[in-house]
Subunit: 379 residues, 2 copies
């Protein structure tokens, strides 16, 4: 009796009631029935984004909204500060370069958060920077960046907007869009929002809307002016991904019922228990600034991460993630993100111990499980 | 006991077994489990596109793939011939203009197909045209274009590719991608493919791939080189819309079981019965070159189309479509597209008669139904 447990940092498990909502007969999007769901979803998105700004939805993966966050606010030859401390920070740089935007990189060693002071110094040194791109949780490393401090710095510049990739962090790590003065927040559906992949989101501050008017990058599908114009009529410019929006409506109900503050506490609890278990097993965390969405761990000497991932998935049905890019085989990532509770962590640690045993890693059996359980009992 | 009947040209009804496939627990896309579905889906797409070319899938609405069909093959200042005989032909023009491509319009009166001779003459007159954009079924008017003849013309030009929007026509009207030498076919998920909106498709001929190498339009999310590189490893560059791809796998099974030739016969039968019913009711078809996906009809004098649409939907639960753009209120469109049979047409005509009665249009009751039924009994 093999059961499947999805513990990767996206896609994450979808609650059964949300899955079932997608099995409802499809209906047309230009109807009062759909418009009511659309309205509710837009209110719910503002709640989880902690903002009064517009939060716009695209039928695309998260990368689509990342592209939208470049092409709508910048023009070719503009300067953009890009924090590159992992695969997704690098992706912002690649998108900017595709559109002829000058990238001023802030390269951060993978596993480390960006020092906000570096951003401050770079903005002083380089005049006329139009945007700063960074990540809340850098999914590839599990690092949490100090967005609040970065917001304080960037908001003092009238001509510079702050764009944050919160694709995996939203709903796991606190992100006060308005209080922290974040102009653009990008997210995706298959993480903390607990629905399948296929929707992406973008919040846009009034300051960012001013950039839209000046931007000369070509665009069409991801054009924010076309999108906003349709939204003002409670519509979308292109056919929306109806079944995913219906699912989002259901998941936002669950989110609002639990409340954002409880959701953050739950993610912290799951993350802390996971980290305790990892420590108890004699393993080393990949970062000292961990997100509560995902725990990244160095592979112990002599054991290939790819074998671990495969064994856990194929033998035990537990899907965790390996390292990306240069880190392939050298680390693994366990997510505790979205529709998860204590027993998901227990299952992940149990499977991890069993797989490590089989791969020849030496540790006292059950020490990881005991540490996680103890952490759960304490708080 | 109100039941809902979706008879608009997209989104179209989704078979229950396909809907239920989306309620299955989500799984990760970088697993053998997903890769097997992905492979099967790619084979099935080639079957319905009638091609050996690559058929690539995007997480986006159809407009996203339309944009992909512009930005990957052309460069700013290139010349493109754009057939504009409805809203979607016009959209091709808008996308080209957004990217600085010179549009040579072939404006066709809405309701009429394009005369292939016009394309021939324009290609003779204008040297160096890089692409011809047209539609199979122009959804906004219900017009079917003669793609086979257009293919014969465009394929004689080495430097010109033919791009066809088959978003609503695919699976309803015959389209022999390879035999007719169509370089790029664009489609969407929520029409003949019988799944919800959120996926878009693009087939790419070897001749079109040569254009990709020369194209200088900026792009990222819709970049075909990045997509192709991932496909070569049985992967996608960005997270796919997993649940929609699973649904597509299910619907393609249904499609292959019925067979493409039977599907075309069924659509023709439904379309012909609908047109007979419309004629019997004394109404005028909007076009003499109708697609088998959708029947467009002039509103009779003195009756506002918007009232008809609303009454049919709100009182009878039957969703048909009105006119778009300048045709708002002046016509209506009944789709017989995708998951539909004789009794869907019967329901649509019955509801249409009842609504027209109520709105004061004069006709002999049941003449539409009788004509449809007679047509069904004949073939």
């Amino acid at each position: 009796m093999k059961k499947e447990y999805l513990m990767a940092p996206g896609p994450t498990p979808v609650p059964p009631e949300v899955l079932l909502s997608m099995a409802r007969p499809i209906f047309h999007h230009r109807t009062p029935q759909y418009q009511e769901i659309f309205k509710e979803v837009n209110v719910g998105l503002k709640y989880i984004f902690q903002t009064n700004n517009d939060v716009l939805t695209f039928a695309s993966s998260g990368t689509g909204a990342m592209e939208a966050s470049v092409v709508n606010f910048l023009s070719p030859q503009d300067k953009a500060l890009v924090v590159r401390g992992g695969k997704f920070g690098e992706r912002f740089g690649e998108i900017c370069e595709s559109y002829g935007i000058e990238v001023l990189p802030i390269d951060v060693q993978w596993g480390h958060p960006v020092d906000p002071e570096l951003i401050k110094q770079s903005l002083i040194k380089n005049r006329g920077v139009k945007a700063v791109f960074t990540t809340l949780c850098e999914t590839s490393t599990g690092v949490l960046n100090d967005i609040e401090s970065i917001g304080k710095i960037v908001s003092t510049y009238d001509e510079t907007i702050l764009v944050v990739d919160a694709i995996s962090g939203l709903g796991a790590d606190d992100l006060k869009t308005d209080d922290w003065k974040i102009d653009v927040v990008v997210s995706g559906s298959q993480k903390g929002l607990m629905i399948p992949p296929g929707l992406a989101f973008l919040s846009v501050s009034p300051k960012a809307w001013e950039h839209v008017n000046k931007s000369r990058c070509p665009r069409f599908y991801f054009d924010l002016k076309l999108t906003k114009k349709a939204y003002d009529n409670n519509d979308t410019p292109w056919t929306p991904a109806i079944s995913l929006v219906i699912a989002l409506g259901e998941s936002l109900k669950i989110i609002r019922k639990e409340s954002l503050s409880n959701i953050f506490l739950r993610h912290r609890r799951l993350a802390e228990a996971t980290r305790k278990a990892i420590g108890a097993l004699g393993l080393e965390l990949f970062t000292k600034s961990p997100s509560n969405a995902v725990t990244s761990v160095y592979m112990p000497q002599g054991i290939d991460g790819k074998n671990l991932i495969k064994l856990m998935r194929d033998k035990y049905g537990v899907t965790i993630a390996g390292g990306q890019g240069e880190l392939k085989g050298k680390m693994f990532r366990i997510a505790h993100l979205g529709y998860m509770n204590e027993f998901d962590v227990i299952v992940a640690i149990a499977a991890l111990e069993m797989a490590f045993k089989e791969l020849g890693y030496k540790f006292s059996p059950c020490t990881g499980l005991a540490a996680a359980q103890e952490a759960f009992l304490k708080c």
